[in-house]
Structure formats: structure tokens, C-alpha cells
């Protein structure tokens, strides 16, 4: 079955085609097709997993490919490769996709283009699965772009809203800029090794087919693509805006799966990054900057989804830091746990939005605990998991990252990542306190607030359970019991498996970080009151404004696009119209016309003039003939 894992992608792809063609006319606009597809994919994943584990590690990675094209010596094969990293990604994608499909039935009820929403969701799932299954970089790139397209379509789902359209455009174009780098990198790798196949590239690079400088440059290009997709600074601007899309989409695409594609890509190609001189250090720096930057920005956001968005960016930074430390397992493990609790938080936010009839500003909420107990409880679990409370999922994965950084990156990075951890705890608890605790800020909203139905709360509960237990996968015993070779570090690794041992000192330190951040938030926003926070903001208004305006990145980019890019375009258009066309083309036409104007005076219309010209011509020709021939 593992070698037929392509079926995972084929099923939703087929569902996409079917829903696009017939969805509008089906009963319930075909949402059951989507849910059944997601369930089928979820079930299929377990079949793949069982078969994969059954084959044993000697047979890994499981390969299956077909001849694609050949032009002379340029041969292409397309196929899938299933290894441990793929399995982790498949687990995340299929689970979250299933939950999100179910949740969407409740969330999107009565929304416009209901069928189209589900159709595109299937397209996304298909392409995302293809992305992680691809055995070669070309297929990966194809899936990568289609994933971006589905993201574009879903962000812009409410296209009547100008802001949604702009956000969709921004997301597509920003990631596209990164993708230029990715495509260049892929082709450079092909140029050096003669293949797109990832394993073959590894072998070629091991054999020294690529010089170190060249490999470094290539990997930097590829890193650009990963940074674009995973919203690393300075490409992060699109992700917060992408919250214009329906909230389940934010959960699936912009928290759990698509945005981690960049992390996946780096993890997948980590052997190349390792061989490429200082590339790992670059990844670490990118991750650190992103984690700290977006953690800080999240302090000052007041829209629930925006806070979660910046939190996602920050956590993606954590994953980059882990990979930059050279540890696939730490990065992938955080990706794995983060997917569950961040999807939970986003779906929780969606539940809040539906429960309060489309309000998502923290300033208007507060005190939802009583009105929406299930949402509040699951949201709390998700928040604590994100903040890293022992023994929830986030604790273990963050612990792994701290451990990796401590071992491979030295004190400064460790210190900074600790600060980022405190930030995480702070903004997460701030979000929870301000939304769910204290008194309602707006009685009118509060009085209409209802808990959402089971179709939405059940996925929350399911994800909450995963957020509690997913971290336990790190233990050897747990993995062993489930049929894996052992804990997470013994399953996903680059060079050699690592058995997990609890480092109580580190665990204590990590808990201290959580307590610090959570306490700060609790003290500042005690009982949902804002007086201390307001005082803090007024104490340093410039700093607060800097955070609230996200370090002016959007303004900077806008100015850059308006002034430089569009300005250049105006210059080129002007040049084309006036220099090339009006001067060059029309100018030469006008010159011809003017020459005609001058020459036409020779045409007197008087026959004797012509006769004279003829006679003169004959005489001249005669003389010439005599002179030359004589």
C-alpha cells in the first residue's frame, strides 16, 4: 500500500473535479462528498502507515515512479517517495484536513459559493499531499505552486470584499517572489547533478558533484522559496493578511499544513543544507529573527486571528531554528505538535466568530467562558499547549528545540530562543484571558453569543485530545507500543536515531519560561482588565506604535512597490510609447512621409519635364556606357 500512497492525493483530486463539475447541483451542495473524501483519505493514511511500518526500515524510503518524458538526454521521471518525514507530514495533513472539512460544514453554512469552497479545499489537500509525496523537486515544485493557487482561491473566497482580494493577491505574489528563488535553485541543482530526483541529488552531492560555494548559493535560492511559503521575515507579510479567508482555511492552510511546506522543504533537503557551508547558520538566523519579531508583534495585535497568525509565524521560526541546528527530528516534531494545537486554536477562533456572529476583535469580546464552555475549554488546552505547559504537546516539542539549540548552537541562540518562548507564553495567555475571561466588553454581542453546534465542537475536542497526547510520541515506549521503531527521534532522523531522555533541568527551565510569560500576561490583563496594559502602552507610545504597526513592513513594501516597481513600469511604458513607438516606428514612418513630401515636387505633372528627364537620362546612360565600355 505504501508504494501506492499516490492514491492519497488522487482521491481528493478526483473529488475536486467531481465537486467542481457537479457540486452546485448536488443536495447540500456536495459537502458530504468533501467530508467523505477527507474521511477516506484519513483512513487511507492508516493503511499506508501500516504498510509502511510493516515493510520495515530496510525498505525505506518506499519508491514508485514512472517514466515522464525524454528529450534526448533530458529525461524526467515522476514518482513518489515515502519516508519517515513524509509519514509525519501525511499524518498531520490527513488529520487536520479531516477535522477542518467536518468543521467547515458548520462554519460555512449558508455562505456564498459553499460548493466551490469545498471543491477548492479538496484541491488543496490533493496538492499538499502530492507535495510531501513527491520524489523529485520538479513534482514538488508543481504541487508547491498548486498549493499556492488553492491558498489564493481560498483566501479570496469572499471576493466581494476588497480586502480579501488584496490579501489573496498579496499572498500569491509574495510567495511567488520566493518561488522564483526556489525554481532557480531547483534548476541549478539539476544543472549540477543532472537530475531532479531528491535521492539522486543527495548521492551526487555526496559524491562531490557540486562545489561548496555553488551549493551554498543554490541552497540560498531554495531557502528563499521555503521562506516565502513559511512566511519567514521578510516574506512574512502575507500570512497575517491571509486571515481574510474563512477561518477553517486559516486553520488548515495557514497554520497546520501549507505554511509548514517551507519547513518540510528544508527538512527534506537538510543533507544539502548541511553540506553547503554556512547554510544552516543562515537558517538559524532567519528562524530566530522571525520568532522574536513576530512574537513581539503579536503583543500588540487585537484581532484574534491576527494574534494567531503572528504566533504561527513565530512558531515557524522555532522550526527553522531547530532545523538550523541540524536536527530534523526537533523541527519535524514541533511541526507535528504545532499542527494540532494551532489548528485547534484557529478552529476555536472560528467557533468564537460563529458564536458571536462574526466578531473577532478582542476589544469587543471577553467573558466568553460562560457562554461557550466547550470552545473555551478546548481553546485553553490549545493555548497551554502552544505556551508549552508540561505535559501538553507543545512542551515536549519546545523542549526538543531547546535541547537541540543548547547542544548545537551555543548560548546566545539559546538565550534568544528562550526569550521567544516567554513571548509565546505571554501573547497566548493574553489572547485567552482577553477573549474568554473577565467581563464581556460589549453586552450586545455577549447577549447573542451561543455555543456552536456539535459539528464544530467535536473537531475541537478531537484536536484538543491530540494537543494533549501528541507530545508523548517522543517517548520510546509510546512509539514502540504503536508499532513504530521507537519514539519520534528514533523514527525521524538524519544521521542516527536518538532515544529521548527527559532532561529534568531543561524541563524545569522550560516550565519557568512558561510561568514567566503566563504570569506576566495574567498580571497585566488580570480578569480581562486593560488598565495596566494601557498604562504600559502609554509609557512607551512609540514602541507600542511600532509593534502595533508591525514594524512598518507593510508600509515599506507598499512604498517600494508604488514608487520603485510601478514607477519603473511607468518609465518602461513611457519609453515604449514615446521612444520606441512614436519616435522609432512612427518616426521612421513620418520620415518616409516627409521624404515623399519633398520628392513629390519633382512630380510636376508637366509632360515636357518628364521628357527632359528621360532624355537627360538617356544621354547620361550613353555617356556612362561609353566611358566604362570604351
Amino acid at each position: 500500500m505504501a508504494e501506492h500512497a499516490w492514491m492519497l492525493a488522487a482521491v481528493p483530486a478526483f473529488a475536486f473535479v467531481a465537486l467542481t463539475a457537479t457540486g452546485r447541483h448536488l443536495p447540500r451542495q456536495g459537502d458530504f462528498v468533501a467530508v467523505l473524501t477527507a474521511a477516506a483519505v484519513f483512513a487511507l493514511f492508516f493503511a499506508v502507515l501500516a504498510s509502511f511500518l510493516g515493510l520495515g526500515d530496510a525498505a525505506w524510503p518506499v519508491l514508485n515512479s514512472i517514466e515522464w518524458t525524454a528529450i534526448g538526454s533530458f529525461e524526467l521521471r515522476m514518482g513518489i517517495a515515502v519516508d519517515q518525514i513524509t509519514i509525519v507530514m501525511l499524518a498531520v495533513i490527513t488529520t487536520v484536513a479531516f477535522m477542518v472539512n467536518v468543521f467547515s460544514v458548520g462554519y460555512m453554512k449558508g455562505e456564498p459559493r459553499y460548493w466551490w469552497y469545498f471543491a477548492v479545499l479538496q484541491l488543496f489537500v490533493a496538492s499538499m499531499l502530492m507535495l510531501v509525496l513527491a520524489d523529485n523537486l520538479l513534482l514538488l515544485y508543481i504541487a508547491w505552486e498548486v498549493v499556492g493557487l488553492s491558498s489564493f482561491l481560498l483566501i479570496g473566497h469572499y471576493w466581494e470584499r476588497r480586502s480579501a482580494v488584496e490579501a489573496a493577491k498579496k499572498a500569491f505574489v509574495t510567495t511567488r517572489v520566493g518561488d522564483v528563488g526556489l525554481l532557480i535553485g531547483i534548476i541549478l541543482l539539476w544543472d549540477a547533478t543532472g537530475t531532479f530526483n531528491i535521492l539522486d541529488i543527495f548521492h551526487a552531492v555526496e559524491a562531490g558533484a557540486v562545489g561548496e560555494t555553488r551549493l551554498f548559493v543554490t541552497m540560498m535560492f531554495i531557502l528563499l522559496g521555503a521562506m516565502g511559503k513559511s512566511a519567514q521575515v521578510p516574506f512574512h507579510v502575507w500570512l497575517p493578511d491571509a486571515m481574510e479567508g474563512p477561518t477553517p482555511v486559516s486553520a488548515l492552510i495557514h497554520a497546520a499544513t501549507m505554511v509548514v511546506a517551507g519547513v518540510y522543504l528544508v527538512a527534506r533537503l537538510l543533507p544539502l543544507f548541511e553540506s553547503a557551508g554556512g547554510a544552516l547558520m543562515v537558517i538559524t538566523i532567519v528562524g530566530l529573527v522571525t520568532a522574536l519579531f513576530s512574537g513581539a508583534v503579536a503583543f500588540a495585535q487585537t484581532d484574534i486571528k491576527k494574534v494567531l497568525a503572528y504566533s504561527t509565524v513565530s512558531q515557524l521560526g522555532f522550526m527553522f531554528v531547530a532545523l538550523g541546528a541540524g536536527l530534523v527530528s526537533a523541527g519535524m516534531f514541533h511541526l507535528f505538535t504545532h499542527a494540532f494545537f494551532k489548528a485547534l486554536l484557529f478552529l476555536g477562533a472560528g467557533s468564537v466568530i460563529i458564536g458571536t456572529h462574526h466578531h473577532q476583535e478582542m476589544g469587543q469580546l471577553g467573558g466568553l467562558w460562560r457562554k461557550m464552555p466547550v470552545t473555551a475549554a478546548t481553546f485553553l488546552i490549545g493555548s497551554l499547549a502552544l505556551a508549552g505547559l508540561f505535559p501538553l504537546a507543545g512542551f515536549w516539542s519546545k523542549d526538543e528545540i531547546l535541547h537541540a539549540v543548547d547542544a548545537h548552537r551555543g548560548a546566545l541562540v539559546f538565550l534568544l530562543i528562550s526569550v521567544a518562548s516567554i513571548m509565546t507564553a505571554f501573547y497566548t495567555m493574553r489572547l485567552f484571558v482577553r477573549t474568554f475571561l473577565g467581563k464581556p466588553q460589549d453586552e450586545a454581542i455577549a447577549s447573542h453569543t451561543r455555543e456552536t453546534g456539535a459539528i464544530m465542537t467535536l473537531p475541537l475536542v478531537f484536536l484538543a485530545i491530540l494537543s494533549v497526547i501528541a507530545g508523548l510520541a517522543v517517548f520510546h515506549e509510546v512509539g514502540d507500543a504503536l508499532g513504530f521503531p521507537g519514539g519520534f527521534g528514533e523514527f525521524v532522523y538524519l544521521h542516527h536515531p536518538e532515544v529521548f531522555h527527559v532532561d529534568w533541568g531543561l524541563a524545569g527551565f522550560s516550565t519557568a519560561l512558561f510561568v514567566l510569560g503566563a504570569f506576566a500576561a495574567g498580571w497585566l490583563y488580570r480578569g480581562g482588565r486593560l488598565d495596566r496594559a494601557t498604562a504600559l502602552a502609554e509609557w512607551q507610545p512609540r514602541l507600542y506604535e511600532l509593534l502595533r504597526r508591525k514594524f512598518y513592513f507593510d508600509e515599506l513594501y507598499q512604498a517600494l512597490i508604488d514608487r520603485v516597481v510601478l514607477g519603473f513600469s511607468y518609465v518602461v511604458s513611457w519609453f515604449d510609447r514615446f521612444a520606441v513607438n512614436d519616435t522609432g516606428v512612427d518616426g521612421s514612418a513620418a520620415m518616409t512621409g516627409y521624404a515623399g513630401f519633398l520628392l513629390k515636387h519633382l512630380q510636376t505633372g508637366r509632360v515636357p519635364n518628364y521628357a527632359l528627364a528621360i532624355a537627360a537620362g538617356v544621354v547620361a546612360l550613353t555617356l556612362i556606357t561609353l566611358a566604362v565600355g570604351g
Binding site: K600, Q603, T604, G605, R606, V607, P608, A611, L612, A615
Partner: protein, 102 residues
């Protein structure tokens, strides 16, 4: 026998007279007559060469006959035009018939 050169000189003189007439005269009828002179000069050349250089065949003479025929047709056409011109403009001065231009 009269030498060939004599014919050629005569033909040259006739042709030059024709050229002079075409260039110098302003009356359309006279211009036409001058053209006829030029054509006749050419015909004379044809016949002379035919008789002197290629006595067995009549190629040059045939040419001369053609020239005469074409000249006749041409004069018929040209005179018709001149008459139309005179009817419309009350003049046969070629300098005043200058509408065939830009």
C-alpha cells in the same frame, strides 16, 4: 551603294530633331509630331540594319512595320486626348495640362 553610315546619320538627325521638338514645343500636336519623328528615326534604323547586316531575313523590317502600326494607334489615342483637352481647357499647351500630379 549608299553606305550604311548615311542612313544612320540621317536617322540620328531625325531623332535629335524629334527630341528637340518634344522638349521645346508647347503645343501638344507638335509634341506628338515630334514623337513621330523619333519613331520614324528608329524605324529607319531597323530597316537600314536589316538590309545591310541581315539581308536574308526580314526581322528588322517586321519591327518597322510593327512600329508604324503602334505609332498609328498611339497617334489615334493621343489625338483623342488632345481634343478632349482642348475641349475642356480651350488650349493645347502641354504646360497647362499639369493636373496629373500630387
Amino acid at each position: 551603294m549608299v553606305p550604311l553610315e548615311n542612313y544612320l546619320v540621317l536617322s540620328g538627325i531625325l531623332f535629335s530633331l524629334g527630341v528637340y521638338g518634344v522638349l521645346a514645343r508647347r503645343n501638344a500636336v507638335l509634341v506628338l509630331m515630334s514623337v513621330e519623328l523619333m519613331l520614324n528615326a528608329v524605324s529607319l534604323n531597323f530597316v537600314a540594319f536589316a538590309v545591310y547586316l541581315d539581308p536574308g531575313r526580314a526581322t528588322g523590317i517586321v519591327f518597322a512595320v510593327f512600329v508604324i502600326a503602334v505609332a498609328a494607334a498611339e497617334v489615334g489615342l493621343a489625338l483623342a486626348i488632345v481634343i478632349r483637352l482642348f475641349r475642356n481647357r480651350s488650349t493645347a499647351n502641354v504646360d497647362e495640362a499639369a493636373t496629373m500630379r500630387w
